[in-house]
């Protein structure tokens, strides 16, 4: 098991180096001079230009520049925002909990509905139930989620006036960030109504972000279950006189979950791509919106650092998925 993980981790190193090369190259590939770009709108004087070039090391050979860059990253220095002048890592850490909270809620929603729906469709293969579930799943899978978000806003915020349009919590409430998770912080604050407000802000973005993973998980669960249900050991389980719940919910599902967990893990990348759109629609102050805003503000050092941090995080999550995969698949466990 440990050897398995170490091997997986070893495979990540070249990928991480590649990712860092892309992030490193990004600023140098932009049309125009990097110093001018980094200086932003106001421009720089000639002396200042020289000083900056030396400070950023742009006068050194490209290999040296890259090694220095890699060294900075390993020390936790991901550059400084051109606009806010704050370290990129610090901004990232501040905004990340918002994205994490949204993503966790979305993945919970997608799993909690997607897996049972997929099981039901597989067990009732070919029935009306199966066709309806798979039809809805395909619509979800084909959904332009930025439009889906707008539709939900029109319906729930516009027509019905049930939910707020944007943000994480009503401006009426103010309390210090403890965990960064609004749901938990609002409870800790003890202010009446704060939790309710946080929940109502979270509902629509969660639905929007969960849509595609939900559809993918339901489809994957169905096909994994169909494969497993025709296996000999399911017949063995039934020959023991076990009831359908135990046969399907334990013997079949336990095996079908192995590919489904991998699928759920792969949804992390999808989720972060979705977060870019979802957060933009709902003005959710997370890293997705942060990245889009930075692209527009031409805050390229944030884009560069964010790119690397996000890719690194996805790689870590994939490692975690491999770990879970190893835990639930006895053929890998040692």
């Amino acid at each position: 098991m440990i050897r398995f993980l170490l091997r997986k981790f070893g495979l990540l190193i070249p990928t991480f180096i590649g990712v860092s090369i892309i992030a490193f190259a990004f600023i140098r590939l932009l049309p125009g001079d990097p110093i001018t770009l980094l200086a932003g709108e106001r421009g720089v004087s000639a002396e200042r230009y020289e000083a900056l070039q030396a400070a950023y090391g742009f006068d050194k050979p490209i290999i040296v520049q890259y090694v220095n860059y890699l060294g900075d990253i390993l020390q936790g220095d991901f550059g400084t925002s051109i606009v806010t002048k704050r370290p990129v890592l610090e901004e990232f850490m501040q905004l990340f909990p918002a994205t994490l909270e949204l993503s966790i809620c979305a993945i919970i929603l997608a799993t909690a509905i997607g897996i049972p729906a997929g099981i039901l469709a597989a067990v009732r293969r070919g029935s009306f139930t199966d066709q309806s579930i798979m039809g809805v799943a395909l619509v979800g899978y084909s959904m332009p989620i930025f439009w889906w978000g707008l539709l939900l806003i029109i319906l729930f915020s516009g027509v019905l006036q049930w939910t707020p349009v944007s943000g994480r919590i009503s401006l009426l409430y103010y309390f210090p960030q403890v965990t960064g998770f609004m749901l938990i912080d609002s409870l800790l604050s003890g202010q009446a109504g704060a939790f309710k407000s946080a929940v109502s802000h979270l509902i629509l973005p969660t639905i929007v972000l969960a849509t595609i993973p939900l559809a993918v998980i339901a489809r994957q669960t169905r096909s994994a279950m169909l494969e497993v249900l025709s296996e000999d050991y399911v017949r063995t389980a039934r020959s023991k006189g076990l009831g359908p719940f135990r046969v399907i919910g334990l013997h079949a599902l336990r095996n079908a979950l192995i590919p489904v967990v991998t699928t759920i893990g792969l949804q992390v990348g999808v989720l972060l791509a979705g977060a870019i759109l979802t957060e933009s629609i709902f003005s959710w102050p997370g890293i997705g919106k942060w990245m889009v805003d930075s692209v527009f503000k031409r805050d390229y050092s944030v884009v560069q650092g964010g790119l690397l941090l996000i890719a690194g995080m996805i790689m870590l999550v994939n490692l975690l998925v491999d770990l879970v995969y190893g835990l639930i698949n006895p053929r890998i466990r040692r």
Partner: protein, 334 residues
């Protein structure tokens, strides 16, 4: 009274290209402590009839029977729930592919004691003790150490032993073994067959042994039932069957045994294949492959009495010669 009594069992599968009758009016009866062997080529419906008894067929199968009694209870009128308390406890089954019949996600102990948990009141430690006992009884060395192993760590022979331990864990009155040694090495085959025979004697258990191997039949069975294309074509005690088969198909099967090869070393084979869904002959199903067939065989086959092994044949063989020819010969001589 017989332990198991099935009359006129038919199984029809609903396939994409129309209904297919896999079992056609078969009778099966098994006495307590008896070993009955059901013999036939693949496609003869021998497994399907037993899977129908166990209730293990997919939803596409329609099962009908005039009678299905086990140990004095009517299986046809039982609810599914009632039937599940008989299946596993009183009638157990082992399968052709032991490696894929065990659930890869659960330990040997879990799978054996799950049966005990379902059908007995034993507590956890008692179940564990019983599991060790059972594993010892089926010849698994150092069973305490094997409790925690997963199926992929076991060989085919070991897997089948675990399956047998599991199937016999509630001391069933009837064990159905569906080609239990086909997937195993020849040396292991003999061991497993000996084990099954011993278990029957020790536990007062009846055994239905499904096989296509006449050698296995000779070694194991008390009584033999030969099936062809979903029909029972002959039924006799094992000695008289080998000495004097009455149905041409049985005779052909026996003459295909290597030990009975002709002096020149030529091993006869039955020409043609079992009829499938679309090429069922109108009369006797064996007629196209039968070397004794006459015109009347194209219209149907007659069921003979017990002295001719209930052979489903118009011209049952006596000592290798069709009965009507013997009569004709006798008349000529007279």
């Amino acid at each position: 009274m017989s332990l198991l009594e099935i009359r006129n069992l038919s199984v029809t599968f609903d396939t994409a290209s129309g209904p297919f009758r896999a079992v056609d009016g078969v009778d099966v009866s098994v006495d307590a402590r008896e070993i009955l062997s059901i013999v036939g080529e693949s496609g003869s419906g021998k497994s399907v009839s037993m899977l129908a008894l166990m209730g293990l067929l997919p939803d596409t199968a329609t099962v009908t029977a005039d009678m299905m009694r086990f140990d004095g209870r009517d299986l046809l009128t039982m609810t599914k729930r009632q039937k599940r308390s008989v299946i596993g406890r009183d009638i157990a089954m082992i399968f052709q592919e032991p490696m894929s019949s065990l659930n890869p996600c659960f330990t040997v102990e879990f799978q054996i004691s799950e049966m005990l948990r379902r059908h007995t009141d034993l507590d956890r430690s008692a179940r564990r003790k019983r599991a060790i006992e059972l594993m010892e009884a089926v010849g698994i060395p150092s069973p305490e150490k094997r409790l925690g192993t997963f199926p992929h760590q076991l060989s085919g022979g070991m897997s089948q032993r675990v399956m047998i331990a599991m199937a016999t864990s509630c001391r069933p009155k009837l064990l159905i073994a569906d080609e239990p040694t086909t997937a195993l090495d020849v040396t292991i085959q003999a061991q497993i067959l000996d084990l099954l025979k011993d278990l029957c004697a020790d536990n007062d258990m009846a055994l239905v042994l499904i096989t296509h191997d006449m050698g296995v039949v000779a070694q194991m069975a008390d009584r033999v039932q030969v099936q062809y294309a979903g029909q029972k074509v002959e039924e006799q005690q094992v000695r008289p069957l080998f000495a004097d088969p009455h149905h041409p198909y049985t005779a052909a099967l026996l003459s295909a045994l290597p030990e009975r090869a002709t002096a020149r070393g030529h091993l006869p084979s039955i020409r043609g294949v079992v009829p499938g869904q679309f090429d069922r002959p109108p009369g006797c199903l064996f007629e196209p492959r039968c070397s004794f067939a006459v015109e009347s065989c194209r219209r149907g086959a007659e069921r003979q009495g017990p002295d001719l092994g209930y052979a489903l044949c118009n011209r049952p063989l006596i000592n290798g010669v069709p009965a009507d020819e013997r009569v004709a010969d006798a008349q000529v001589k007279a």
